[in-house]
Amino acid sequence: MSTEGASDAAAPEHPLIELSEIQKVYASGDVSVHALRGVTLGIERGEFVAVMGSSGSGKSTLMNILGCLDRPTSGVYKLDGAEVSRLTKAELAEVRNKTLGFVFQNFNLLARTSAQENVELPLVYAGVAGKERRRRAVAALTRVGLEKRMDHTPNQLSGGQQQRVAIARAIVSQPKVILADEPTGNLDSRTSVEVMSIFQELGRAGITVVLVTHEPDIAEYASRVIIVKDGYIQSDKRREMKEAIVPPEFVPPVSARSPTGGQA
């Protein structure tokens, strides 16, 4: 691709995420399924983007490509200025480890493993030494308000707490982008607001959050909503995001801001 990634919101500098003409074709036998038919998109640092769409719209494929879990059939994907769409499996793993953080609908914590060890996992693969790993895991868990639950295993934690552990795990390696796939799908509405307020907080600290959801009231907390349909971006709207205000009896989970996280 010779042209610069041209997003509809023209950016003065390199956007953090730059997709241009991304196509993804799944070939199964004689039939080939076009999951993405040319997606061009730019996402800035600190943006909080909600991706919506019905099932089969291509939003999962888009998320997989954004998350470097899958490679596009054609097109260019620049993440933080580096072309990542043609990397090997091992190189993609390194990008996921250093630049991305994942939050899943079903939390995906390792069973029978303490919250702290779960959070340490990305650092283990980054080759961070034991002492530093522990220090950072404790800091991340403190940031999501779980400093008193560090030794608990997932089955000793509520759904909301498990998702906060997962968020701590996603932010522990200080990634630039957090990708959240239906993070509130298994949570009640109050804990959903809790989780959204953590994401808003991360956005204010300069971390880009891309969220897949099918719930419009969850998408309201984002500053930009992209709707995917039939492999195309159908609409892309920026708007004032709704402040996630947790009901009064709730103790705010974000008690300490990261000293390193600058304002976007």
Partner: protein, 408 residues
């Protein structure tokens, strides 16, 4: 991801499925245990055979008189005395490969002490005989060449004979016994030698000068010797000595090139090595059977590792999403398989050693534990772990993270 962390994850995964892991390693445990026990038993049996032949004497050849052949009826070896005293003298002087030679005349005689009697084999031998059979005295001394020359009535008793006549721990040197009708003075007691491989008690014997035997015990046969010749070859030269003695004897007995020997020579080191070889063959066979069980154990490990990979597909997906490279996943499962197989190997070593010790202590089976066998079997179990762990680990590392994360 460092090795220690990987190892810890592996141990945790193994301990979590304790019973399953144990049953999986059972194949390796039995395989390694069997290899070690079999090799220990085999080596022990071989050592006993070698020890038994060493007790006969080293570099030993036995020259036997030939068979008689009259009217087509052929007697066995020794059925006719064909060896002469001159043959003995020639062997002693004319064959450089022969270090020592001694006649051995044999008869069964009652030996009578003051208040006991015991019938045993009485051997007429030369002084060199004790050297040839590496048989020292426990008390007293061997009779001398002067005793041989004068056909002296002196005797060296075996320990069993001493036990029967005087009781254990007695020292009868200097006392008199009667053999046949003649009084003999006991000059020495031969040190206990034990049993031959066929169970004959070496110590149930008495030794007198061969001249005395020929003159006083069993009537002389003139120039023929009524017995065998024990020959000790120069160290390591038994085969050459055998050939040289054969040539000399054929010459002396004027046997034409096409004729059969009228004597025979037993090469004990040859018999010993063929015995050791057959023990080796059996040991190898048994070890092969045990190795098969190790391979079966390896298949068990592969099976359980495949189950483990399938069970933990989601975990693999999560680890990959968080930055685990295919290599990290591969080494994680490979180390798990290795930990299983090496642990099994170590338990197998312990049980194999245990079985060998039990057989020795409880049933007096001779066993010999060889450190190199232990090392090789642990090494082999590790090898089995790598070989059979590689495919499941590779399969895990090639999972697609998207599919793995979605796996229910």
């Amino acid at each position: 991801m460092n090795w220690f962390m990987t190892f810890r994850v592996a141990v945790r995964a193994i301990v979590r499925n304790g019973l399953r892991s144990f049953l999986t390693t059972l194949g390796i445990i039995i395989g390694v245990g069997a290899v070690i026990a079999m090799m220990a038993i085999g080596a022990g049996a071989k050592a006993r055979v070698e020890q038994a032949f060493a007790a006969m004497g080293t570099d030993l050849l036995i020259l036997l008189p030939g068979s008689s052949s009259s009217s087509g009826v052929r007697g066995g070896f020794g059925s006719q005395p064909t060896l002469t005293w001159d043959d003995l003298a020639a062997i002693r002087t004319e064959v450089p490969m022969v270090k020592n030679a001694s006649p051995q005349l044999r008869s069964n005689q009652p030996i009578v002490s003051e208040d006991q009697n015991w019938t045993t084999s009485v051997y007429g031998v030369a002084t060199e005989y004790f050297d040839i059979r590496s048989w020292p005295m426990s008390s007293g001394a061997i009779f001398t060449d002067a005793d041989i020359d004068s056909s002296a009535k002196v005797v060296v008793l075996g320990q069993t004979v001493v036990d029967k006549l005087y009781g254990p721990n007695a020292n009868p040197v200097g006392q008199m016994v009667r053999i046949g009708v003649n009084p003999f003075r006991i000059v020495g007691v031969a040190k206990r030698k034990g049993q031959s491989s066929s169970g004959t008690d070496y110590d149930d014997a008495a030794f007198i000068p061969f001249t005395t035997h020929a003159h006083k015990i069993q009537g002389g046969l003139g120039k023929y010797m009524n017995g065998q010749v024990y020959i000790q070859a120069q160290p390591g030269m038994t085969t050459r000595a055998q050939a040289d003695v054969t040539g000399l004897m054929r010459d002396r007995h004027k046997i034409p090139p096409s004729g059969d020997d009228d004597f025979s020579i037993r090469n004990l080191s040859e018999i010993a090595s063929s015995q050791a070889e057959s023990t080796d063959t059996i040991t190898t066979l048994l070890a092969c059977v045990a190795l098969v069980s190790l391979v079966v154990g390896g298949i068990g490990i592969m099976n359980i590792m495949l189950v483990s990979v399938t069970e933990r597909t989601r975990e693999i997906g999560v680890r990959m999403a968080l930055g685990a490279k295919p290599m990290n996943i591969l080494s994680q499962f490979l180390i798990e398989a290795l930990t299983l197989s090496i642990t099994g190997g170590l338990i197998g070593v312990a049980s194999g050693v245990g079985v060998a010790l039990l057989l020795t202590i409880k049933y007096q089976w001779p066993t010999l534990l060889q450190p190199e066998v232990i090392l090789v079997s642990v090494g082999f179990s590790a090898f089995v772990g790598v070989v059979f762990g590689l495919y499941p680990a590779w399969k895990a590392s090639q999972l697609d993270p998207i599919d793995a994360l979605r796996y229910e």
